[in-house]
Structures are given as structure tokens and as C-alpha cells.
């Protein structure tokens, strides 16, 4: 059983074809990159996979069950977590709470337990808190547990967002431009971090990225999108030399008119 399988996924925004005939199969354990020029439809692919949009056509299977048409939190509950291009942390809640609330889908108690503080509430709340504490610890964020995310340096905010995604205990992690807005030193750290979490948490990682340094260093397999269509796919080195990719990124040489 493949971890994630996407069959002929197509999506329209009104008359605009954002994604066309997207096919993919992840067996589990890969580190896959999705690249393409601005507006190629990369984030749309993520939004379709995680259930935020419903594809106009095609099918998505995750962990063997069909997920297109499910609500995002239902897809998340199956073990898919993501980060966002523009960091979307809950800014009026502490870093610690951010990592707790993301475990909402397996809280295991409801309003009644919360009000009466039943045994079930105590037990589950302890578990959720422990998970959050452990994650903050391994990510080197314990120091910031009681801070509000907006007060943290940019690189750390990204780290918290990755931590929040990990608290879901995902088997597939989608990273949407994790290096956006980072300085070279932070990018080096990020590359280390992605490699490490993939090994540590035995994850499949799928990332969108513009920084070639990250893509070439981290990804084993790359898929290239342009105007919603897959124009190239293969191991990193091969894709880099592909003329269609170079053309999509650098543009075509226009004939000179007199």
C-alpha cells in the first residue's frame, strides 16, 4: 500500500487551470521536492492534498483511504501534517499551547470531561502536554515554551511551526517553502533539521522550495511544475540539467524583431 497516491488530479479556479493531471505515488520514507516558478500551482497541490480544496477531478489516496472530499482536520487525523508558506502560528497562544492544540484530533475527551476534570481529562491532558514538552526539548525550543510565537525570531517561528506539525505525529510531512525569508546560516540549520527529523521520526517529507541550495541538498527526487503541469521529474541532478526546467525558470530566448 502506497502512503500517498494521487491520480490524475486536476483543479480549476473558475476558468483558471491551476493544476492539471497531477500524478504521484509515495511509498513511504522518501524525501521529495516540488519546485516550479511562481504561480506554478505548487501550494495549490498541497492545499488539494491536505483537503483544503477539493480537486475538480482525480483522486487522492492517503494511507489506503480516499481523502479527496474529506475535511482538512479529518485528513490530518490520518497522519498528514503541514506547514505554511507564510507562517500561520496561533499568535495569542504560547508556543507550548500551539503544540498542544494541534493534537486536538486525538485529545480523547470532550466538553464534559473538560468541565469536570475527569480522570480521562487528566490523563489525556498529561499525555498531550508531555508530547509538546518532548518536542520542544528535541527542537531546542524549551526556552521559548511560554513565549508568544510572534515575539520569536523568524527562524525559530519556522521551527515552532515544524514542531506543531510534528506534534500531530504525522507519517507524511508537507513543508511549504520552509526556507522562505531565512538567512544563509538559518538555511544551513534548516537543512540539518529536515534531515534529522526525517530520520528521527521516520517520516516521509514532501517540500516546496525555491532555494536551490535546500532542494539540491535535501531532496532525493524532484518534481517540477509549470502552469499546473508536471514538466519534469527525476533525481535531483538529472532535473537540474533538464532543458525544460531551465527554460521554465529562466524563460525562453525570444527571437529579436527588427
Amino acid at each position: 500500500m502506497a502512503l500517498l497516491e494521487i491520480r490524475e488530479m486536476t483543479h480549476f479556479f473558475g476558468g483558471l487551470r491551476a493544476v492539471y493531471n497531477f500524478n504521484m505515488k509515495l511509498e513511504g520514507g522518501e524525501l521529495l521536492g516540488l519546485i516550479g516558478p511562481n504561480g506554478a500551482g505548487k501550494t495549490t497541490v498541497f492545499n488539494l492534498v491536505c483537503g483544503f480544496y477539493r480537486p475538480t477531478e482525480g483522486e487522492v489516496f492517503f494511507q489506503g483511504s480516499r481523502t479527496d472530499g474529506l475535511k482538512p482536520h479529518e485528513v490530518t487525523a490520518l497522519g498528514m501534517a503541514r506547514t505554511f508558506q507564510n507562517i500561520r502560528l496561533w499568535n495569542s497562544l504560547t508556543v507550548f499551547d500551539n503544540l498542544c492544540i494541534s493534537q486536538h484530533h486525538h485529545l480523547g475527551y470532550g466538553l464534559w470531561d473538560a468541565v469536570w476534570r475527569t480522570g480521562r481529562y487528566q490523563e489525556n491532558e498529561r499525555r498531550v502536554r508531555r508530547t509538546a514538552e518532548e518536542l520542544l526539548e528535541v527542537l531546542g525550543l524549551s526556552h521559548y515554551a511560554m513565549e508568544y510565537p510572534k515575539n520569536l525570531p523568524y527562524g525559530f517561528q519556522r521551527r515552532v511551526e515544524i514542531g506543531r506539525a510534528l506534534s500531530i505525529r504525522p507519517s507524511l510531512l508537507l513543508l511549504d517553502e520552509p526556507a522562505a525569508g531565512m538567512n544563509p546560516a538559518e538555511i544551513e540549520e534548516l537543512i540539518e533539521l529536515i534531515r534529522w527529523i526525517r530520520k528521527e521520526f521516520e517520516l516521509t517529507v514532501w517540500l516546496i522550495e525555491h532555494h536551490m541550495r535546500v532542494v539540491m541538498n535535501v531532496c532525493e527526487w524532484i518534481k517540477v511544475l509549470d502552469f499546473g503541469e508536471t514538466i519534469a521529474e527525476g533525481p535531483s541532478e538529472e532535473v537540474r540539467k533538464n532543458p525544460r526546467v531551465i527554460q521554465a525558470y529562466l524563460g525562453e530566448e525570444e527571437p529579436a524583431y527588427a
Binding site: A77, W90, L93, F96
Partner: protein, 341 residues
């Protein structure tokens, strides 16, 4: 032991108030104000759940209050007293003493169900548009009651003082006051525990970033239903008590003016702060009473205070903080759940 400090303090305070009322040490006017303070605490804390913690803008809180007020009053009058409209009492009037809390809760449940009228549109709409829906619900409730001649229509509904008297005939203690105090305690306790659990903090996540909440595992629809129903249900209970304090209600009481009063209390106290909502409910009720000699000018002075507040302290008195955040020394006595690791 620390866990029970607030409970013990509140029980003591309630006991003092009840004794004072029982021994007629305070005049009925002061007692009535004390009861209105209680009603306003319930209204402002419950509205704070939606406006403060969840970040929606509900301007129709009085509508839910009206539903609760009418359901409880009509049930009580139908069950426990003989009237021209409903005929003879269904049960003996003396049983009101046991069944009053039941009808009060039924009123709350009815209001919570009407709260669904707002909760369901909130799946697709939010912000200003949802505010208009809450306003519409307020008007729907008010106009529906106005057009129901059985329960008095626009003339209003009365007979609740008979119920209160019937309760006092069995055991002569100030029953309405006792139930107001109990309801305030239950409301604050319930909301405190809800918003301090990871489960309840899901609604704060919705306020901060609904898309992130939905994608990062919060069932936003369920949380919205829970928040709106809890909020409107508590408003319904406040309405039921309000009806029994006055002994007479009419639809005109539950207009947008009443909703605005609750709104002002939420914004005065600080959004997303339970202690702020309590503080402002107490102070605003007292200020309004204090300015009563000013008569109509009161409605110039009080809004002026609001303008000044918005200019100099737009986040409200407490603004997303609780008492224990402002005075950390208090944590020795009151545990602030969730703030410590």
C-alpha cells in the same frame, strides 16, 4: 487545598449576601442591584466566549436571553399557577421549589438550540457578515415573541412573582437571589475550565487563524457549535433569572440595546479575559446605577466613558489577561491552570 480557594471564597461571599438578604439588613433596592450584577456577569462572561475567545462579533446576545426568559417563565406559570390562558396549575405550586432549577435549565437548553441559528451560518461566514446574522437572529426572536399572542405578544408576560412567592411560602429564603448566585458560580466555573483546557483553547486557535486551526486538526465546525451553544445557553439561563427578578418581561426589553450593554461589558473588561468580564459587569452595573440621578444624561456620560476607554486603553481593562497574570502573587492562592508547565 489550593484548588478550592476560589470555591470556598465564593461560597462564603454568597453566604454573606444571602444572610444579609434574609436578615433584611440591606434594602430591597440594593439587593436587586446585586442580582442584576449577577445577571450581567453571566451575560458578559458568556458573550466573551464568542466575542473574546472565539473572535466572532455577536451583537444579538439579548435574543438568546429572551428565549431563556420566555421558556422558563412560561413553563413556570403554566406548571405552577392558575391563569386564564393556561388554565389551572398542572402541578402543585409548592413543587416549584424543586422544579425551578429544572425549568431554568430547560430555558438554557432552548436558548442553546436557538444558538444553532447562528452556529450553522458561522461555518461559512465570519466577521461583519456573521455579526449581521446575529443581529437578524435577535430581531427574529423579538418579533416572534411579539407575534405570539398566547404569551402576551408585545404586551409582555407576567406572573413570575407568584412563582417566587410560592417558593418562599414553602421555605422562606430569597430563592431568586440564591439561584442567581449559584448560576453565576456555575457559569464562571464552567467557562474557566472550558477555556483553560486544550479542548477549549481550540476556539482561541480559531480566532487566531481559522485556516491553520482547520488544517492542524481542530474540528472547527464542532468547536463553533460548542462555543455558540454554550454561550447562548448561558444567556438563556441569565434570561430566566432576569424574568424572575422583575416578575414581568416584554419583548421590548430584549432589543439590540440590551445586547449592546453586554457588548460594552465585554469590551470594557477586555476580550478573552474572564476576570475582566466579571470586573466590568460589576463596575458597569454599579456605574449605571450611580449615574441614575443624571437621568437621560446618563446615556451621554456612559458612552463618553467608552470613547475614552477606546482611546486610551482599546484592549479593555484586562485585555487577554487574567487577574493572576496582573498580580502573579495571587497564584499562591489560586492555581492558574495552563499558565504553568
Amino acid at each position: 487545598m489550593r484548588r478550592f480557594t476560589s470555591l470556598i471564597l465564593y461560597a462564603l461571599l454568597s453566604l454573606v449576601i444571602i444572610t444579609a438578604a434574609q436578615g433584611r439588613w440591606v434594602n430591597p433596592y440594593i439587593l436587586q442591584i446585586a442580582m442584576f450584577v449577577g445577571i450581567n456577569i453571566i451575560l458578559s462572561t458568556s458573550l466573551n466566549l464568542v466575542n473574546g475567545y472565539m473572535g466572532e462579533f455577536s451583537v444579538g446576545h439579548a435574543g438568546f436571553m429572551a428565549v431563556g426568559a420566555y421558556i422558563t417563565s412560561v413553563l413556570n406559570v403554566w406548571l405552577f399557577s392558575s391563569t386564564k390562558v393556561f388554565g389551572p396549575a398542572v402541578l402543585s405550586p409548592s413543587s416549584a421549589i424543586y422544579l425551578f432549577p429544572v425549568t431554568l435549565i430547560l430555558g438554557g437548553i432552548g436558548a442553546a438550540v436557538v444558538g444553532l441559528l447562528v452556529a450553522i451560518p458561522s461555518f461559512r461566514t465570519r466577521g461583519d457578515y456573521l455579526a449581521i446574522i446575529t443581529l437578524a437572529v435577535n430581531y427574529i426572536v423579538k418579533s416572534s415573541i411579539e407575534n405570539m399572542q398566547v404569551i402576551g405578544g408585545a404586551r409582555g408576560f407576567m406572573g413570575m412573582s407568584g412563582i417566587v412567592n410560592a417558593m418562599q411560602e414553602v421555605v422562606n429564603v430569597p430563592w431568586v437571589l440564591i439561584w442567581v448566585l449559584t448560576s453565576v458560580g456555575v457559569t464562571v466555573w464552567l467557562l474557566h475550565r472550558f477555556v483553560n483546557s486544550t479542548y477549549g483553547k481550540g476556539i482561541v486557535a480559531i480566532r487566531d487563524d481559522e485556516i491553520a486551526a482547520e488544517i492542524m486538526s481542530v474540528d472547527t465546525r464542532r468547536m463553533k457549535i460548542v462555543a455558540f451553544m454554550l454561550s447562548s445557553g448561558l444567556a438563556g439561563i441569565a434570561g430566566g433569572l432576569f424574568a424572575h427578578i422583575l416578575g414581568y418581561i416584554n419583548p421590548g426589553t430584549f432589543t439590540i440595546m440590551k445586547s449592546t450593554e453586554a457588548l460594552v461589558m465585554v469590551y470594557l473588561g477586555g476580550m478573552g479575559s474572564l476576570s475582566g468580564a466579571i470586573l466590568s459587569a460589576v463596575s458597569l452595573t454599579l456605574i449605571l446605577e450611580f449615574f441614575r440621578p443624571l437621568q437621560v444624561a446618563k446615556w451621554v456620560v456612559v458612552p463618553l466613558l467608552l470613547i475614552l476607554l477606546m482611546l486610551f486603553r482599546p484592549e479593555g481593562i484586562m485585555g487577554h489577561r487574567e487577574f493572576t497574570d496582573v498580580f502573579p502573587a495571587l497564584r499562591r492562592f489560586f492555581p492558574s491552570h495552563g499558565k504553568e508547565k
